[in-house]
């Protein structure tokens, strides 16, 4: 994204990432702490960012292609931070994220999110993305790239949003 300043990036093989559930929590906590120190309220900011980031990572954990590199980058754009996940995808995951992108353009996203949040049975697989879009008011962009890769970018404006 233009005008953004990369702050921190973590990158590893997707198999390594997806081999251990704790990675989602560890990476989201670590990155959130790294980028929050110069925000107005570092603890509050880190708390919010970690929560949103964790949802994105849990989504990628469950939906990704079989092999290739996985990276997660946080960049700064003024008061906003942009989280970018870059992951391998196959046809099935591509379809999953296409669906997600399509749902995210629907009106009454909050309604969709809330009914997914409380739906009986198996959780809606897009729940995390819906939450980040609604509760964290993120602008989410999902773009398929060549070489069976996919980029998911979420722009979050958390500065001042908590107060």
């Amino acid at each position: 994204m233009s005008g953004t300043k990369p702050l921190v990036e973590i990158s590893m093989g997707i198999e390594a990432f997806a081999s251990e559930w704790l990675h989602c929590d560890r990476i989201s906590s670590y990155l959130a702490r790294m980028v929050s120190h110069n925000r107005t309220d570092s603890l509050l900011y880190a708390n919010l960012l970690s929560s949103a980031l964790n949802e994105l990572l849990e989504t990628a954990f469950a939906h990704h292609g079989p092999e290739g590199n996985f990276s997660c980058r946080v960049s700064r754009l003024g008061d906003s931070d942009v989280i970018e996940l870059d992951l391998p995808c196959d046809d099935m995951t591509l379809a999953f994220y296409r669906d997600a992108a399509q749902r995210l353009t629907q009106p009454d996203l909050a309604g969709i999110y809330h009914s997914a949040l409380f739906s009986p049975g198996k959780p809606d697989p897009h729940l995390g993305l819906l939450e980040v879009a609604v509760d964290y008011r993120a602008r989410i962009a999902i773009v398929a790239e060549k070489g069976n890769r996919l980029k998911l970018a979420a722009e979050l404006t958390l500065e001042g949003a908590a107060a």
Binding site: D41, N54, F118, D135
Partner: protein
């Protein structure tokens, strides 16, 4: 200072409260089973209102959220008479928003951000009216504390936390003159924190982190700081031992906690000593009516001992009109009068006659402070103690 531990859960039958704290990010619903069972058992024991306290739950993913809310929904279906109150905290940022939709769906459930009613005097202290008081006070106490702090163990290079930092001027003075490596300053007043950040920015001060939080339940890891200060604040909580427990927790073993408190009824002045004494005896009663013990100073020793500290050191000093410009002292008294005999006395429902006499004592102390042969004083107890290693 991250929150990197998993969850703790406990149930207190006496107040029908189930507390979940820490981090809940399970991969599967199976991992939620122990917690779900504990929650189910607790719910089964409760009549009337059940409190689900998530004030200190820092992280929660949707697997955990759905497991908890499923359980709550089921109970609500079968026991329509049961009320469930989810208690959240604004300190976490996300939790109120996350739980509110549950209250929209289930008539038995309410969600309450508890911060609004910590203790009866909270609003006076968190609103803008207190800023001039704090600014004047710190200016005057610093003359004494700059010498006392090293004696109480504060050394250059230490990591310091100032809890209940108010407008943050103390942190700035410590940073400038005593050169710690880093200061975290925490308060629960957004107005004061905004002010603090503005001042720090104007003076180009880095290395002080101003954070919003609740001193009685801080989102700070254990054993983080060499020196933890909490000034003029234990005396404003109805249960100071809870705050002290938190100060103890975040202090490193071998580190020290430093507290200052007053004994307001001992404020004094001459001439017009009697009127001054009467007013300050009333100040102590006024605060007591709002469940604050501004007589706490001399009790510091006991509080520190009861909290498990060792090597307790208690000092006291008198801030007086002779410390510098007597007008500074007078300004502080005027700022006190404005709030104590203004908003607070009004809130208590005091009569105009009482308020007039109450105000007179402050005016008399100002008179004493500015009188060429006068003397006016404000006594402070500064105490510190070590956390055992």
């Amino acid at each position: 200072m991250s929150i990197d531990r998993s969850y703790q859960a406990s149930f207190n039958e006496n107040n029908q409260e189930f507390v979940i704290a820490g981090k809940l990010r399970p991969q599967s619903e199976d991992e939620m089973r122990p917690l779900a069972e504990a929650l189910t058992n607790s719910l089964a024991q409760v009549r009337g209102t059940f409190y689900l306290n998530v004030k200190r739950l820092a992280r929660l993913n949707n697997v955990a959220f759905r497991a908890i809310t499923n359980l709550v929904s089921q109970v609500c279906d079968t026991r329509p008479e049961l009320r469930i109150e989810v208690v959240t905290s604004s300190v976490m940022g996300w939790s109120t928003r996350k739980f509110l939709p549950l209250a929209e769906r289930l008539p038995n459930v309410t969600v309450n951000e508890y911060d609004n009613d910590f203790y009866p005097g909270q609003s006076f202290l968190e609103e803008g009216g207190f800023i001039p008081i704090l600014r004047n006070q710190t200016k005057l106490t610093w003359r004494h504390e700059r010498h006392l702090l090293p004696r109480h163990g504060l050394k250059p290079g230490m990591t310091v936390a100032d809890i209940c930092c108010g407008i943050g001027d103390f942190a700035v003075l410590v940073q400038k003159e005593l050169k710690p490596s880093h200061i975290l300053a925490l308060d629960h007043s957004r107005t004061s924190l905004d002010y603090a950040r503005k001042v720090a920015a104007e003076f180009g001060i880095a290395d002080i982190e101003y954070v919003y939080g609740d001193a009685s339940e801080m989102v700070i890891e254990d054993n983080q700081f060499d020196f933890v200060t909490c000034r003029h604040s234990l005396q404003i909580f109805d249960r100071p031992e809870l705050i002290l427990k938190e100060l103890y927790r975040i202090c490193k073993p071998g580190g020290r906690v430093y507290i200052t408190n007053e004994k307001n009824s001992h404020c004094l002045g001459e001439p017009r000593g009697e009127s001054i004494q009467w007013t300050y005896t009333e100040v102590a009663k006024l605060f007591a009516d709002f469940k604050m013990d501004v007589e706490l100073g001399p009790k510091s020793r006991r509080y520190l001992a009861d909290a498990g500290f060792e090597d307790i050191l208690v000092d006291s000093f008198m801030v007086t009109n002779g410390d510098g410009d007597p007008q500074d002292f007078a300004n502080m008294i005027q700022a006190w009068e404005n709030v104590f005999a203004g908003e607070m006395a009004r809130d208590r429902g005091d009569s105009p006659e009482f308020i007039a006499r109450f105000r007179q004592g402050f005016q008399d102390q100002i008179y004493a402070a500015l009188h060429p042969k006068g003397y006016a004083g404000w006594p402070i107890w500064a105490a510190s103690a070590r956390k055992p290693t």
